[in-house]
Every structure is written in structure tokens, then in C-alpha cells.
């Protein structure tokens, strides 16, 4: 395994008295694709929110480049090099494509990824840069969301349910860029309910059930049956 970029130790996330994530530990290395799978409500999104600094109360350590970021504000975490592509895309509807991307560029750290690189990955965005994002198709909007994340020049990119609600062809198109991002040395966390798709691109995976990791390993070395059993908690 590559040198650890993200090193989470014994993390719990609370919503009031409810513990959505219970003592999770996981690592992500530079240039590594890690898939986090689990059924609805397993704690995947809470984990993402905790990493980016938007969960309520957390316990445990979230190490990033050797420092604990669990109490830092989101803006600082993003500048340190973590970007989130949030579930449901969450673009700014009254901003143009270019302006949405600009927001990503502005909040992030300075680096080699600029507008040209994003437009190269998603040429259609270059054509539509002046349009309001609400006029785009779902797939194109997801490209903007990914582009916004990439323009922050993250060392670690968190992708939360990027295939949700999209047609299979469109999903395949989006997943094609994952290796290109990894090849830049960026660590990638993919959260999906769709196991097949995310395990296909992942180097390693963690399976969550009711807020705990109940299985982890390499997709190639784990049988589908075993994954399915842990996914459903059987």
C-alpha cells in the first residue's frame, strides 16, 4: 500500500444521541482508489461529511498528511487538499458552468489542475461554459460537480454517490476519468450503493454496516459472495 494520505482512527460521528459512524478506521494512500460500500444508512455519507468537517460531533482522529484535521473548519480542510463531490451534485443553479467551476478553484489550494485540464477531461463543459448549470443534463451537471472538486486541486477527492440517478452509459463515461485522476497521484474515495461499478475501479474497499467496518480488502481478492453477505449483514 502507498504512503497513507488519509488515516482515520477509531472515528465516531454523532447526531444527537445517535451514533451514525461507530469507531471506523481506514486509510487512503496517494494515487489509490478506495471504495466505500454499504447499504442506505450504513454511515457512508456521515463519514464523508466528517472528513470534510461538516458532521456535527465527532470522536476519534482524522489524520491527513500526518495532521489531525477533525476539528478544523471545512475551508481549511479544502485548502489543505481534500475536496468533496457531494451527493446529489449540489451545484449552484443560478451560476454558469464556468462560475461553478470558479468556486472550486477559489476555495482550493493552488496546483496544476486548471480550467484547461477540466475542459480536457470533459470537453462538453468547454462548449457550455457560459450556460447556467440548470440548463444542463444530469450527466453534464455531474461533470461540473466533479470539475468543481478537481479545480480545488485536491490531494484527496471524495466522490459521494456520483452515479446516482444517471443512465448507465453516462455513468461509464464518468468512471472513465477515475484512472486519469489517480494517475496524477490523487487519492480517491468512492462512495456508492452500486457495488459492481465502484469495486471495478477500486484498489481497495471497505464495507460499512450500521456504522462499522465489517469487511475490507482488495476487490480482486474477495469473492462477490462474501462482499454481498457483509453488505447485507447476513
Amino acid at each position: 500500500m502507498a504512503e497513507a494520505l488519509l488515516d482515520i482512527e477509531d472515528l465516531s460521528v454523532f447526531y444527537g444521541p445517535f451514533r451514525a459512524v461507530q469507531g471506523v478506521s481506514l486509510k487512503v494512500g496517494a494515487g489509490e482508489v478506495v471504495s466505500i460500500i454499504g447499504a442506505n444508512g450504513a454511515g457512508k455519507s456521515s463519514l464523508m461529511k466528517a472528513i470534510i468537517g461538516q458532521a456535527g460531533r465527532t470522536e476519534g482522529r482524522i489524520g491527513f498528511l500526518g495532521e489531525d484535521i477533525s476539528t478544523r473548519p471545512t475551508a481549511e480542510i479544502v485548502r489543505a487538499g481534500i475536496a468533496l463531490v457531494p451527493e446529489g451534485r449540489r451545484l449552484f443553479p443560478s451560476l454558469t458552468v464556468a462560475e461553478n467551476l470558479t468556486i472550486g478553484w477559489e476555495v482550493g489550494r493552488r496546483g496544476e489542475i486548471g480550467f484547461d485540464e477540466v475542459y480536457e477531461l470533459f470537453p462538453v463543459l468547454a462548449e457550455r461554459s457560459g450556460q447556467l448549470v440548470r440548463s444542463l443534463s444530469g450527466g453534464q451537471q455531474q461533470m461540473v460537480a466533479l470539475g468543481r472538486g478537481l479545480l480545488a486541486n485536491p490531494r484527496l477527492l471524495l466522490c459521494d454517490e456520483i452515479s446516482l440517478g444517471l443512465a448507465p452509459v453516462v455513468i461509464a463515461d464518468l468512471y472513465r476519468i477515475i484512472p486519469a485522476i489517480r494517475d496524477r497521484g490523487i487519492g480517491i474515495v468512492i462512495v456508492e450503493q452500486d457495488i459492481t461499478r465502484s469495486l471495478a475501479v477500486a484498489d481497495r474497499f471497505y464495507c460499512l454496516l450500521e456504522g462499522r467496518v465489517n469487511l475490507s480488502g482488495r476487490p480482486a481478492e474477495t469473492s462477490r459472495d462474501e462482499v454481498a453477505r457483509h453488505y447485507f449483514g447476513m
Partner: protein, 287 residues
């Protein structure tokens, strides 16, 4: 013969001042989606600040207003950051109550410090200068400057919101503050900056108001009502619409005053209500 066109021209020019009052309100309605009930009182508060600066140092109205600009920016920023932000997103009731309480505090604080006297600031002669433009129409230099200032203010805010990176940030946060927070754009700081800009518009309108009209500590609410009418008439969030809304109120008041001086304010409100019933979404709706 020339009296009616003249009155209309004067009304249009007054509308420029009303639009200035309304510009900051339009911005806070458009960006932060709340109506600041203390808006008019803040204009009056800054007018008293300008008055105090002039009395204390003997400087002119223009430098005093220029000094007030950064103070008003900081005031707006801090007000949003440390008071309004705490009740934002908790429904409409808390924000109305807090700005309402603020309004009463400002009015009575000013009454306590300055007394109930009506005040005015000297503009150094500009307030009496007029231009004859034929047809029996005389245009005051000051109203003309204020009107042009209102147009410049719309253009400047339009540029700021739609042509700058700060503007994109403000619009992004206005679209969806939760998402902004999620991607690392702290909405609280952006809101505070927007309120700082509102503060600058307040200081500019306070500067002009203090040399053109009389004011006293309780003059805020009537400014708020006029500003509100201009914003709603123009269409929520539309800056050019707000300018047009201000002009409509100004002209309606001028025409009302033609009937009888006592009808001036009433005519403005009636014009607002009639147009509002016909076009509740305003003339140039944006949202």
C-alpha cells in the same frame, strides 16, 4: 402649463434617492433572503454619524461620507457575522424579531443621544444650485447628482455581482449556503461581506439624504417602507427594477403632492398597493 412635467421630473429625481435607500435592501433580500426591518434606521444612524463627524471636525459632507463608508462596511460585516448570522436559517420569525428589536434600539438610542430635533447637513451650496433646462423645468444640481449616483450604484452593484469573483461567491451562497459550506466556501463570511456592501450603500444614501432632506431619530421606518416598496415593485432581487420602483414611488408622491401636500405620502403608498395587486411578482422579477 409647465407645472405637471416639472413635477414629474422632480418626482423622478426623488426616485433616485428612494432607489438608493432601496439598493441595500434589494441586495439583502436577494442574497440573504430576509427583510432587514432596521434598514431605514441604519440609514438614519449613519446620517447621524456623518453629522457628528462634521460637527466634531468641521469637515465637509463629502469627506465625512467617505469616512463613513469603511465604518459602515465594517458595521454591516460585524452585524451580520455576530448577530444576524446566529438567527439565519431558523425561519422568518427570529430574523424579523431581531432586526425589529435593533430598529427600536437604534431609534431610541439616537433619541437619547441626539434628542428629537430635526437635522440637516450642509452640502456647501450644492443643495441650492439649479439648472434651467427649458420648458419651465428647473433641475436641482443635487437631485440630479443623486439620481446619477443611483444609476452608478446600480451599475456598480450589477458589475460586482455578475462580473467579479466575489459576486460569483455571493450568488453561490445565495443559491445554497449549505452546499457552499460543503465545498469549502464559508457562507457566514460571504454573507457578512455582502452585508458590508449593503452597509456601503447605506452610507452613500445616508450621505446624500442628510444634505437633501431633514431627518430625525425616528425617520428610519418611513425610509424602510419606501425602500421596501421600491424593492417589491421592481421585483425581488432585480437592481434595475429597484431603481424603477424608486422612481415610480417618487413620481406618485410628486403627483399626489399636486393634489394636496398632505396626499404626497399617501399617493406613494397607494401607487405601490395598486401596482402590487396587479403585478405581485414585481415589474422585473428575477426569482
Amino acid at each position: 402649463m409647465g407645472e405637471l412635467p416639472n413635477q414629474i421630473v422632480q418626482g423622478v429625481l426623488v426616485g433616485g434617492l428612494y432607489a438608493m435607500y432601496a439598493m441595500g435592501l434589494s441586495l439583502s433580500v436577494g442574497v440573504m433572503r430576509f427583510v432587514n426591518i432596521a434598514h431605514g434606521d441604519l440609514i438614519v444612524l449613519i446620517s447621524f454619524l456623518i453629522l457628528t463627524l462634521i460637527h466634531a471636525t468641521g469637515m465637509g459632507a463629502l469627506p465625512a461620507t467617505l469616512i463613513a463608508l469603511p465604518i459602515a462596511f465594517a458595521g454591516g460585516y460585524l452585524l451580520q457575522r455576530f448577530l444576524l448570522q446566529r438567527v439565519l436559517g431558523k425561519g422568518v420569525l427570529p430574523i424579523i424579531l431581531v432586526t425589529f428589536g435593533l430598529s427600536i434600539i437604534i431609534q431610541n438610542g439616537l433619541l437619547g443621544v441626539f434628542g428629537a430635533d430635526t437635522r440637516r447637513v450642509s452640502g456647501g451650496g450644492i443643495e441650492t444650485a439649479t439648472l434651467k433646462i427649458g420648458g419651465g423645468i428647473n433641475v436641482g444640481v443635487l437631485p440630479l447628482v443623486i439620481f446619477l449616483g443611483a444609476i452608478a450604484m446600480v451599475m456598480a452593484l450589477d458589475w460586482l455581482l455578475y462580473r467579479t469573483r466575489l459576486g460569483a461567491r455571493i450568488r453561490a451562497v445565495s443559491d445554497d449556503p449549505a452546499t457552499a459550506n460543503l465545498v469549502g466556501l464559508p457562507s457566514a463570511r460571504v454573507y457578512a461581506t455582502a452585508m458590508g456592501i449593503v452597509g456601503v450603500t447605506i452610507a452613500i444614501s445616508a450621505g446624500f439624504m442628510s444634505i437633501w432632506t431633514n431627518f430625525d431619530p425616528t425617520a428610519g421606518p418611513s425610509r424602510l417602507l419606501i425602500a421596501f416598496e421600491a424593492v417589491v415593485l421592481g421585483g425581488l432581487g432585480s437592481l434595475w427594477g429597484t431603481l424603477v420602483g424608486g422612481i415610480i414611488i417618487g413620481v406618485a408622491q410628486a403627483l399626489g403632492a399636486q393634489i394636496d401636500v398632505g396626499w404626497q405620502l399617501l399617493a406613494g403608498h397607494i401607487a405601490f398597493l395598486v401596482i402590487f395587486l396587479a403585478r405581485p411578482e414585481g415589474l422585473f422579477p428575477k426569482y
